[in-house]
């Protein structure tokens, strides 16, 4: 899985994708009892930060993000043998 927060705003941002409301670090963390910070996760352990970032995108931006990920990781199924 791709971490939106890792590429948003840097040179890896997919062409055509405008990240408009990616949460800042302060917003996506909570302060723990000992003063440290922890990720915003739900009871199932899912990181909600990434989901909220995706939800901030439009459908076409999400499609392009996925497409860019496919291209970047190079794990798309190889083309069948050429003639």
């Amino acid at each position: 899985m791709w971490g939106l927060g890792r590429w948003a705003g840097d040179e890896c941002t997919p062409p055509g994708v405008v990240v408009t409301s990616l949460p800042m670090a302060e917003e996506r963390s909570e302060t723990s009892d000992d003063g440290g910070s922890r990720s915003l996760v739900d009871e199932a352990g899912v990181d909600l930060t990434l989901i909220r970032a995706y939800l901030a995108l439009t459908p076409i931006e999400r499609l392009r993000a996925l497409q860019n990920m496919m291209r970047a990781i190079g794990k798309f199924r190889p083309m069948v043998r050429s003639k």
């Binding site: 939800l55 459908p59 076409i60 999400r62 996925l66 497409q67 291209r71 798309f76 199924r77």
Partner: protein
């Protein structure tokens, strides 16, 4: 071959289909990874002709088949899963989904029309996708369920 999901959707512009599977989840906000586009198409003669034309435009051939067979109407008339590779990436062409063999008309009430830069596409609603994946129960489906369910909750 460079994956081009937009090219696949554009080629299917005249085809009656519902986007299902991982890509349907992603476009609704679920940050999951997937490697192919899954579509459930309407099995109806004129639609099959349009689908065949779209698959020809995409240069689709049966995936994992060394003969590189192109899809014909006779293939598309069945409810089976046709796994293809196109010039724009992997495309799974489904006549039905799940063990219940749900066809286009069964799923249509659970689909919403979404806009992709002026291109309107029917997409299986995330809540229904969660239900179907839970029923399928395959490890790869169960693995993404927590993310899909959390996305449904976050959308409110």
């Amino acid at each position: 071959m460079i994956p081009d999901l937009e090219a696949i959707l554009r080629a299917l512009r005249d085809v009656e289909f519902i986007l299902v599977g991982g890509v349907a989840a992603v476009v609704q906000g679920a940050p999951i990874a997937t490697q192919d586009v899954d579509i459930l198409y309407r099995i109806e003669p004129s639609n099959l002709s349009r689908l065949e034309a779209a698959l020809t435009e995409l240069e689709a051939v049966f995936r994992d088949d060394p003969r590189q067979l192109r899809l014909q109407i006779s293939h598309l008339e069945t409810k089976g899963h046709k796994l293809t590779m196109t010039r724009a990436g992997a495309l799974d062409v489904l006549g039905s989904i799940n063990a219940e063999e749900l066809v286009f008309e069964d799923v249509l009430p659970h689909a919403d029309r979404m806009d992709f830069d002026g291109l309107e596409v029917l997409v299986l609603r995330l809540e229904k996708l969660v239900e179907l994946k839970r029923r399928l129960g395959r490890p790869k489906d169960l693995a993404v369920l927590p993310i899909l369910e959390a996305t449904v909750k976050e959308r409110g």
